[in-house]
């Protein structure tokens, strides 16, 4: 930390940029979009713990996100205060994550993906069908946002700042996690599970704790979503939602800090832009998925770098061939 390096400068610049968004964006609608980018970035960072560092691809994370939002929403509707509702939501999500983890960690790879998908569908089924509890397709709406330390969050800029603070906490937690022995051991279980076992690590426990860590930040993102929209409906728990957040992680580049954030920004902005012109967001989502997986399986950022490098090499390889033809006639 003694020398100021380019990454430090970039980070400071980004921080300045992020903290002044409401000033230069102006329109509160776009400030709201910025809040959503940040909250989905928290969600994507949470999923990246499992997908990127753990090598465990979950297609049920929208379920965890929804458990958090629904628990808080229903508790608020039942008359509890914000603090109690938030604590209840985090607790409920952690419990659900633990159940998810116990079941899904019976397997890894494809099995893990299938089990999380099925579990996510159960939660969708509850959100959509158990109308007595969740109000079914009509969803749950809440009337107020919390006012931490007496500051009202009802306006778009103030909510943006609150989201930014939470986002920075999430980022710091992820950075600390990435550097910690725990993060290293999780990467170890991803790359060399058998060797980790031989070294005496409890691979299952490491993965289980990683799942809880991921679940915690999912619940934070779910709460932010609930308070942002002041409404939650079964759609947030659908398979499409799980696929969307997975796309954020994959498109930005897994197992990096910035990848999921870039991915969240790309997906959210694209969703808003596309929705403004066509109603077929799912179609676009599918096409992006297929294109990324077929052409840039390593993610948009590294993939673009690779394709750019490839194009440049081809260009260089072509150029010398042109010189003789250009000089030949005279």
């Amino acid at each position: 930390m003694t020398r100021v390096t380019a990454p430090h400068a970039a980070f400071a610049l980004a921080l300045v940029g992020l903290s002044t968004v409401p000033l230069w964006v102006g329109n509160s609608y776009y400030v709201d979009v910025a809040s959503q980018i940040l909250l989905f970035a928290v969600f994507a960072l949470a999923l990246n713990v499992l997908v990127g560092y753990g090598g465990l691809v979950s297609l049920g994370h929208a379920g965890l996100f929804a458990v958090s939002g629904y628990t808080a929403g229903l508790m608020l509707q039942a008359g509890f205060g914000h603090a109690v509702a938030i604590a209840g939501a985090v607790l409920a999500t952690l419990l659900t994550s633990a159940v998810f983890a116990v079941l899904a960690l019976r397997s890894t790879g494809i099995g893990f993906l299938m089990i999380t998908l099925a579990l996510g569908q159960i939660l969708w089924g509850i959100a959509y069908r158990w109308a007595d509890l969740t109000n079914g397709d009509n969803g749950v709406s809440i009337s107020t946002r919390p006012a931490p330390f007496g500051m009202s969050l009802s306006g778009a800029p103030s909510f943006y700042y609150a989201t930014l603070v939470v986002f920075l906490f999430a980022l710091a937690a992820m950075a600390a996690f990435e550097r910690s022995p725990f993060g290293a051991s999780l990467r170890g279980t991803r790359d060399q599970a058998r060797r980790m076992t031989a070294l005496g690590y409890n691979v299952w426990l490491i993965r289980f704790l990683a799942f809880l860590f991921s679940g915690f930040w999912c619940s934070v993102a779910g709460l932010l979503y609930l308070y942002n929209k002041q409404f939650i409906s079964p759609q947030v728990s659908a398979l499409q939602a799980s696929a969307e957040v997975l796309l954020m992680v994959i498109s930005g580049g897994t197992a990096t800090l910035l990848g999921p954030i870039a991915g969240a920004a790309i997906v959210v902005i694209m969703k808003y832009v596309v929705s403004a012109y066509v109603v077929r967001w799912n179609l676009v989502l599918g096409v992006i998925f297929v294109a990324i997986i077929t052409f840039m399986p390593e993610g948009l950022v590294p993939g673009s770098v690779r394709i750019w490098g490839f194009a440049r090499r081809r260009w260089r390889a072509l150029r010398p061939a042109r010189k003789p033809t250009a000089g030949a006639p005279p």
Partner: protein, 318 residues
């Protein structure tokens, strides 16, 4: 979003073969015994449909290790093809077979052109099929609109069978017969033919199968096409019961997933047993606990995962 229940909570009066236009048609409340029997027949019919859907899913998963997340799309797209053919006056069975054939070509194409490029990258393959399923569902919404289509059952099967003072809808019985016939045919193919032996070899150990000269990659395409065809055929056969609507794919895919987790991947017997279990659970759950029917479906899956992760009839390991 959700398949119209085969028997609604209004008491199985929606048996509905007499009046195929309205699934939710409420007739006189039948006696309790008949209600259960009706539910049982519906369960078996739904189980038969599920088997047609999940047999291919199971074989694809067993052989290629890909949970084909566009299997529900095959089902829905096939059903849409079928109802379109029916709308222009095709014979029901011709429509079902033609739709199956069309989907075999599409499925084979997807495998050859897209999945093949990602050989060995299971995760990328899964995500690719997921992306394709989103594309298919939105395309279907554009082409066939959001209104549900519900074709009539073929004319010769619209009646009912009376036995012992009770009434059984003929079409549902026919669905069961078809499913059993397909199960038998698949069983003969897998267990008694050379092709089946090669598929089994591929499921058990693909690299070794390659070493002894089996063209596993060609088998992949074949099995994928067969699975797609079966799903499409099931979609058309199921259309008079379930109707065809946007979101049918997302409704059927998890069911196929549960069946395969229950029965064990690559096992036809597992798919058969799992399908009927889910068929019963779904219909009885729908009748008794309509709110939680969908959740109840997953309970046996969770039990199996905890007690026997490889599935009831699956082989150990993997």
């Amino acid at each position: 979003m959700f398949p119209p229940p085969l028997a609604t909570a209004s008491g199985g009066g929606s048996l509905g073969t007499l009046d195929h236009g309205s699934l939710y048609h409420v007739s006189k409340e039948p006696p309790q015994m008949t209600l259960w029997l009706t539910l049982a027949v519906n369960s078996i019919a739904f189980g038969g449909l599920l088997f047609l859907l999940s047999a291919g899913f199971s074989l694809i998963f067993g052989l290629m290790r890909i949970p084909n997340l566009m299997h529900g799309s095959f089902f829905m797209l096939g059903a849409y093809f079928g109802v379109t053919l029916l709308a222009v006056g095709a014979n029901f069975w011709v429509a079902a077979l033609a739709s199956g054939l069309a989907m075999a070509i599409i499925g084979g194409g997807v495998e050859r052109l897209l999945l093949r490029r990602l050989a060995g990258q299971e995760l990328a393959q899964v995500l690719l099929t997921l992306g394709l399923s989103f594309i298919v569902s939105d395309l279907c919404l554009i082409i066939w609109t959001g209104d549900p289509w519900q074709p009539l059952a073929p004319a010769e099967l619209r009646g009912v069978v009376r036995a012992g003072g009770m009434i059984f809808p003929l079409y549902r019985l026919a669905v069961v017969v078809i499913a059993v016939a397909v199960a038998a045919a698949l069983w003969v193919m897998v267990d008694w033919t050379r092709l089946g032996a090669m598929i089994r070899a591929g499921v058990d150990d693909a690299p070794i199968a390659r070493v002894v000269g089996i063209r596993v990659s060609r088998l992949f395409t074949l099995v994928f096409a067969l699975g797609a065809a079966l799903a499409a055929f099931a979609g058309v056969v199921g259309a008079p019961i379930l109707s065809v609507y946007p979101g049918l794919d997302a409704d059927m895919l998890p069911l196929a997933l549960i069946v395969v987790i229950l029965g064990g991947s690559g096992s036809l017997l597992g798919a058969l047993v799992g399908s009927f279990m889910i068929g019963f659970l779904y219909n009885f759950g729908q009748a008794r606990f309509p709110d939680l029917a969908y959740v109840i479906l997953f309970l046996p899956m969770l039990l199996v995962l905890v007690l026997r992760p490889q599935g009831l009839f699956g082989k150990g390991g993997s």
